[in-house]
């Protein structure tokens, strides 16, 4: 077994195990920690595909910013097990069936996929030069539209925050 195979298996175990732990732990703060573990293992996969930029941006944005905000909300809401809404048996069954259907569809779609095998640690697809050139030439319109979307979301958030302030006075 080569080093990359061992690394791949380790990282995959880490991501799948972390995701399962995230779903099964009762404590919401521990769930956040397991989700951070998942993000790190996914970044490891990016590094193996020679996409260092994606790897580090994944950590900065998801592990560094979004999960901190998650923690903020969890810590301030003070979630306890007694405030957790009761889940009844019927809802759980519906969840299992719909989740199973999704798994089935994904599996059948993946079975028909005929892609070239993934090249590990070669290629410049994920490097920052390639990514920047592609974003600002081929995909410049979607890129700008996405940034406008972010801007409108920001303005909307500020507007909601301001509205409360006026009513309070």
């Amino acid at each position: 077994m080569s080093l990359t195979t061992i690394l791949f298996i380790l990282l995959s175990l880490m991501s799948v195990g972390g995701a399962l732990m995230m779903l099964t732990t009762k404590n919401p703060v521990m769930s956040v920690i397991w989700l951070i573990v998942v993000f790190f293992s996914i970044s490891g996969h990016y590094v193996m595909l020679n996409a260092q930029f994606l790897a580090v941006v994944n950590i900065i944005v998801y592990a560094g910013a979004i999960m901190v905000l998650f923690l903020f909300v969890i810590m301030l809401m003070n979630l306890n097990s007694d405030t957790e809404p009761m889940r009844n048996y019927k809802m759980q069954m519906i969840g299992v069936v719909s989740g199973g259907c999704l798994l089935l569809i994904i599996l059948s779609a993946l079975k028909q996929l005929k892609a070239a095998p993934v090249q590990i640690a070669v290629g410049d697809q994920g490097l920052i030069h390639t990514l920047g050139k592609t974003l600002f030439t081929n995909y410049v319109v979607p890129f700008e539209v996405a940034s406008v979307l972010f801007l409108s979301a920001m303005v909307g958030a500020i507007l909601i925050g301001k509205k409360d302030e006026e009513n309070a006075v």
């Binding site: 404590n27 703060v29 920690i33 951070i36 260092q52 930029f53 580090v56 941006v57 950590i59 900065i60 592990a63 560094g64 910013a65 901190v68 923690l71 903020f72 810590m75 301030l76 490097l127 920052i128």
Partner: protein
């Protein structure tokens, strides 16, 4: 054959990692003594002078004292997270030392050994990522303490670090437009052959400096541990060496951010006219390391100087400075830099 080369590389990197981590810890240790000496100097006192000649053994005495203190873990805390908090704070503080070029290469037995642990092509983004993870140590520790003062301290720390990260990131974009690379080694090489980046980015450096103070939780931005409001802030429930780790992580952060600032804006290990001289590579590398250390020491002294000169901000002043002054200034700096580069047609 391949394995042999890999082992040699592994050994080389391992030795380098051990030296860098040890040096970081040692310098941070003596930064605590330096802080107290600088404070004494500013307040016309003598400072610690009993342990060893001139107080030179004071950090050791402090460390021994902390280790022998009783360790208290509160009953209502979640213990695992309580222990993990200081460990994470320490880990994230040391992690960013991996990509800083400490000097040029040295030659050992005819083999070039670069004095950087990992010369990755996303260097500066890695620092940014580690800085953004630094807040977890504070947040986990404070939440696990199960204390309202700790929690308020952690919330202050998190919102402060996230707010100042924006201005920091935009300042870095302007710097990247000038240098055209993300690798710190490459940046130092450019500054060796050209001018230091401080000449091109004076405003950017100023914003970076203020943000570095905020990211390290240093006065005047040390609201997360404001002792007169929060009785100690996020490390209120900690005792013994766990408290020591939190306090120590601050000094490591200070050392690393000084190293980053020296590398980005003041030429790193560059000494003017050194690369034209005919010194042997080993001696040149040594001179470079000494030069970098002098620059770092100057920055650390500046951190301390500010701490004992400028009083602490109020929380709304802190947020106003971050969002209404530094962020627009950073945006302005970025746009001007972009326009100048466009007109000069570089």
């Amino acid at each position: 054959m391949f394995l042999a080369i890999d082992l040699l590389l592994l050994l080389e990197k391992l030795i380098l990692i051990i030296i860098v981590v040890m040096a970081t810890l040692g310098i941070a240790m003596y930064a605590t003594l330096g802080e107290r000496k600088v404070a004494a100097f500013m307040q016309d006192r003598r400072g610690p002078s009993r342990a060893g000649p001139g107080g030179i053994l004071q950090p050791l005495a402090d460390g021994i004292k902390l280790f022998f203190k009783e360790e208290i873990i509160p009953d209502f805390s979640s213990k695992w997270l309580f222990v993990m908090g200081p460990a994470l704070a320490m880990l994230t503080a040391i992690m960013s030392s991996a990509i800083i070029p400490w000097g040029d290469h040295i030659v050992i037995a005819g083999k070039n050994v670069p004095l950087v642990i990992a010369d990755v092509n996303i260097g500066i983004l890695y620092v940014f990522g580690v800085v953004s993870l630094g807040v977890y140590g504070i947040m986990f520790g404070a939440w696990a303490s199960n204390n309202k003062f700790s929690l308020i301290g952690a919330l202050r720390a998190a919102s402060q670090i996230i707010s100042y990260e924006l201005a920091l990131g935009i300042t870095l974009i302007a710097l990247l437009m000038v240098t055209g690379t993300l690798s710190l080694t490459e940046m130092v090489k450019q500054q060796q052959s050209g001018n230091w980046n401080i000449i091109y980015q004076p405003l950017g450096f100023f914003i970076f400096l203020v943000c570095a103070f905020a990211e390290c939780n240093r006065t005047p931005f040390d609201l997360p541990e404001a002792e007169n409001e929060l009785t100690g802030g996020y490390h209120l429930e900690y005792s013994s060496m766990k408290l020591g780790f939190y306090l120590f992580a601050e000094y490591i952060n200070m050392f690393i951010s000084s190293a980053v600032m020296a590398t980005l804006y003041f030429g790193g290990y560059d000494v003017p006219f050194l690369d034209e001289s005919l010194l042997s590579p080993n001696i040149a590398a040594l001179v470079g390391i000494v030069a970098l250390m002098i620059k770092i020491t100057a920055f650390i002294f500046f951190f301390m100087w500010v701490r004992w000169t400028v009083p602490r901000f109020r929380y709304d002043q802190l947020m106003n400075l971050g969002w209404k002054i530094l962020l627009p200034l950073a945006l302005f700096n970025m746009i001007v830099t972009g326009a100048v580069i466009l007109f000069l047609g570089k």
